[in-house]
């Protein structure tokens, strides 16, 4: 045994210990802890998102309603920024020196090595100027984005708008990432999943200097963006534009429908706004202006969100239900007894057609009384309860008091009072016809959404059925329509009962004593019904619904003008012009158009909206 030979064990032990510590540590960082893998990917892989083109929207004649325009985000990579003439740079972008400093600081805080947005959505026109000077400013580059653009400042409520996703959007759908855009209102919202397309991505490898070194795994995980589908909207852009013009200086709505399909031809909510306001950099400022600083609330879409008493146009529904229920015939006459309910005009004892033509209130008071108090029960209250039950079921078949399944989000239902409604209000057995008779002439508790009025016009034009009013004719190029829009809804009223109604509506417009003579045209036979909704002591709402031509109708329209005058005074001629435009493609009656465009009813009445 050599001296100290045992010490080799100590030395070998130290060697072994260190080796085992290393192997243990390596096992931990290589096999167990995957954060290093993530860091490595973060450093070397750059996922380039390839944004798909958002689908365009055309009108029914293939005219563009909305398209995309290139805009550029100016990106900055702080680590690459070197000294340069900041004042000329700021001048180029139109920002202040202090804004430059704070933005750069913010970008630096996010990451020194990764690009962040320095200036958003520079329009293509300005970008040309910026890009040709960008070589002077190290660390800045442009990234292409698309902005929505509207060739005609029209259809704002229909199209809606897109905006950057918020946290709640991201939480709801993990597809979205901060900075993405999402449809917030209108068709942009409803058809978001179709319009947005699918993002593509490209994974690139970068070296330590952030230089691109090629595709990761030869592009195995890359994908191409899939463009969003284009939509063909049922709107007629020229008709829509005319409607918006006619409604200038007014509050109210116009809805026009093609009766044979339920396609919406025009949908105007006044006051409206220029959709181009809600695009690009001025968006948030403009939005705030429209949202808060405008007492007329132009962002509010009256056609689907406002609820009104329908007024006399509702007499048509009463007549049809009464005929089909057999409580009257077209020959039934009632005295125009103006004691209980007021009336106008010189008639005294009309049959149905005359009563509609003259809009005789006492007549429909009696009709409604027959519908509600049918003598099925000895208790007048129970009788009214049963009568109202049947009545409201039938009225709902006309699309009132139910939510129409259209393709605009947030549609209101309106209100058709039910027995439960009055039981709650007055108490059970505490109401009868005498309590609720105002409904007979479309006043009282009835609440109707403008699109439902247009739908009623379409039902009459179709003599008894309707399709859900909708805006999109075709998704993509292959003419796909949502299946629910091709499903017929029947009012269950015998088509023969529509004959006297159509005849009466013809007379309303075309014969002396009709309430809507202003809607008459020489070339086209218009049928319609006026409504004048009382707002004592303020001016009445002017209401009119119509369809034309009388044979084989092509358009059904409803117009509602708030706080203006009689239905025949404003709503009827507006409807007439809409019909003329749609059926002839132009307006010949320029003087008529001028009279309407010159009219303004924007005074705000206290306590009313």
């Amino acid at each position: 045994m050599k001296p100290f030979e045992d010490r080799k064990f100590v030395i070998l032990g130290i060697f072994l210990t260190i080796a085992l510590i290393f192997l243990g540590r390596l096992f931990f960082i290589q096999v167990i802890d995957d954060s290093y893998q993530m860091s490595a990917n973060n450093q070397t892989l750059r996922t380039i998102t390839q944004y798909p083109v958002r689908g365009l929207i055309y009108d029914r004649n293939k005219q563009l309603l909305v398209y995309n325009e290139a805009a550029y985000d100016l990106m900055v990579v702080p680590s690459k920024v070197s000294d340069f003439d900041t004042s000329s740079f700021c001048q180029l972008l139109g920002i202040s020196d202090s804004a430059f400093v704070t933005r750069l600081k913010k970008a630096r805080k996010y990451s020194r090595y990764r690009p962040s947005v320095f200036e958003k959505q520079i329009p293509a026109s300005q970008w040309a100027l910026v890009s040709e000077r960008l070589y002077k400013y190290n660390g800045f580059h442009g990234e292409k984005r698309t902005l929505r653009k509207y060739p005609k400042a029209t259809s704002a409520h229909i199209l809606g708008y897109i905006s950057e996703v918020g946290n709640s959007d991201i939480a709801k759908d993990s597809y979205y990432k901060s900075g993405d855009y999402i449809g917030k209102r209108g068709l942009e919202k409803e058809y978001e999943s179709v319009l947005r397309g699918t993002r593509g991505k490209k994974i690139l490898m970068v070296d330590v200097h952030n230089r691109i070194k090629g595709n990761y795994r030869n592009g195995l995980y890359d994908s191409l963006p899939i463009a969003g589908k284009n939509l063909i909207c049922s709107i007629d852009r020229d008709l829509q534009a005319l409607g918006e013009l006619l409604m200038q200086g007014k509050r109210g709505s116009i809805v026009a429908i093609e009766p044979s399909t339920g396609e919406i031809l025009a949908m105007i909510s006044a006051p409206s706004y220029d959709p181009n306001l809600l695009v690009g950099r001025p968006r948030s400022k403009n939005y705030q202006m429209l949202q808060q600083n405008d007492s007329l609330n132009p962002l509010f879409n009256r056609t689907i969100n406002a609820m009104y008493r329908p007024g006399s146009i509702f007499k048509i529904v009463q007549a049809l239900v009464a005929l089909d229920e057999g409580v009257i015939t077209q020959d039934t006459r009632f005295q125009c007894n103006r004691g209980i309910i007021g009336c106008h005009g010189s008639h005294t004892y009309d049959e149905l057609v005359g009563a509609i033509q003259h809009s005789c209130n006492p007549y429909f008071y009696q009709v409604y009384k027959r519908l509600i108090q049918r003598g099925d029960n000895t208790s007048v209250f129970k009788d009214a309860n049963m009568g109202l039950q049947t009545w409201q079921e039938r009225v709902k078949l006309f699309g009132f008091g139910v939510q129409l399944k259209t393709d605009l989000p947030g549609l209101k239902m309106g209100l058709v009072p039910t027995p439960e409604f009055y039981n709650k209000w007055y108490g059970e057995n505490r109401w009868a016809f005498s309590t609720i008779y105002s409904n007979s002439i479309g006043e009282g508790e009835l609440q109707v959404v403008p699109i439902q009025m247009a739908n009623l016009a379409a039902i009459i034009a179709n003599k008894g059925y309707y399709y859900q009013p909708h805006l999109i004719k075709s998704i993509g190029e292959d003419s796909v329509k949502r299946p629910e829009f091709t499903q017929k809804f029947d009012t269950e009223v015998d088509p023969k009962y529509f004959e006297p109604i159509v005849k009466a509506m013809f007379k309303v417009v075309n014969e002396s004593g009709g309430t809507a003579r202003k809607a008459r045209m020489d070339s086209i036979i218009v049928c319609g019904k006026t409504g004048t909704v009382q707002n004592d002591p303020w001016p009445d709402h002017s209401v009119f619904m119509a369809f034309a031509p009388m044979e084989n109708p092509k358009i059904a329209v409803a117009v509602y003008v708030e706080y203006s005058d009689y239905g025949g005074t404003w709503a009827a001629p507006i409807s007439s012009l809409m019909i003329e435009q749609y059926l002839t493609g132009e307006i010949k009656r320029k003087d008529k158009q001028k009279r309407i465009t010159n009219a303004s009813f924007l005074e705000i009445y206290e306590g009313k909206k």
Binding site: P3, R7, V10, Q37, A40, N41, Q43, L45
Partner: protein, 434 residues
Amino acid sequence: MRAKSSIFQNIDWTIFWVYTTLVLMGWINIYAATYNEQHQSIFDLSMSYGKQMIWIISSYLLVWIVLMLDPRFFSRLAYPIYALCMALLVGVLIFGTEIKGAKSWFTFGGFSFQPSELAKYGTALALTYYLSSLGKKFQGIFVRIKAFIILLIPAGLILLQPDTGSVLVYASFIFVMYREGLSGNILLIGLGAAALFVLALLLNYTTFDLPFELQISGQTLMIIVVGIICLLIHQMFRNHKGIKIAIILVFGVIAGYVYGVNFMFNDVLKSHQQSRINELLGIEHDITGAGYNVHQSMIAIGSGGVFGKGFLEGTQTKFNFVPEQSTDFIFCTVGEEWGYLGSLVVIVLFLVLLFRIVIIAERQRSKFSRIYGYCVASIFFFHLAINIGMTIGLAPVIGIPLPFFSYGGSSLWAFTILLFTFVKMDSERMHILS
């Protein structure tokens, strides 16, 4: 007399093949670490990998030369070689070329030579010669001082370059002296001092809250704890003579040392060295500054997983995230492209080499051969421990190469000569008796 053709006859083939494997693995990893698409051939002489091939081929020439030499050559010429190395170290301070702030290199044309690599060899021979010339044990204060002087001369000269990493390598000779009889306590005290140093630094930045809104610094707390332990020991061994003085002495030394650490750390070490130590201890964390290398190195190794990303597929390696990757951080390439399995193979191979050297050293009849064997093992071990340790965040960043792996002719040549001198001695062990 022995025929020349028999020079390979008695050599230890385990060492030879482990050496060959490591050298070739090193070459492949240098290729991956510095791979250039325009120069895809591993034989391209304009690239590091092409040059490394030349270093490898010439190394085998050196192996052949070393094995040709008469074994007595090494002991006879130990001091002359040592002297030559020291002359080179002085020379490099005068005539050397400064690269990265250190005058460590002689350059001739395209090639450069680092004398500090060769100096390890010369020092190993000289120390071996001195220790083996001592009659019996390694005892007596003057003997020890002389041995330390042999180490201090090259260490001092290298410190002047300055190349702290290479200086520290000389600390590894403590294993040799321990084997030859240096008290084990010195090893323990060294270890304890290192542990205290780390602890004191860590506690230097910590304060503890006490009741009554008092605060106490970590170091003070540590002294108090040490004091309590001393008192307890005193109670336990109160019957022994002189225990009181011994305990007071120990306590005084520890207390002084702990407070002295601050001074050493702040006033002796350079700021980049302070940062590296702080990074290692987790006191500082600046992944863009002092901690950048280690951070990147650990990402590269850690992202390798079990099986690695594959040859030439290491993203961190290819895209130069790890600085000095073909030299000091070559182990990253192994870890990233070959994964845990690759790391395991490399570490096990080195461990086999170290064990083999120690085992062979112990079978030498000649004291000179045995001591030299320990020198070789110690030097390799130190390089291995520090180099791999720093890549995985267990050792401070000290720029010393991984034997046989790191790119560079000087180190490969020096390690080859160092190793095969021992192989030669072993192959002749039957003929050497001294």
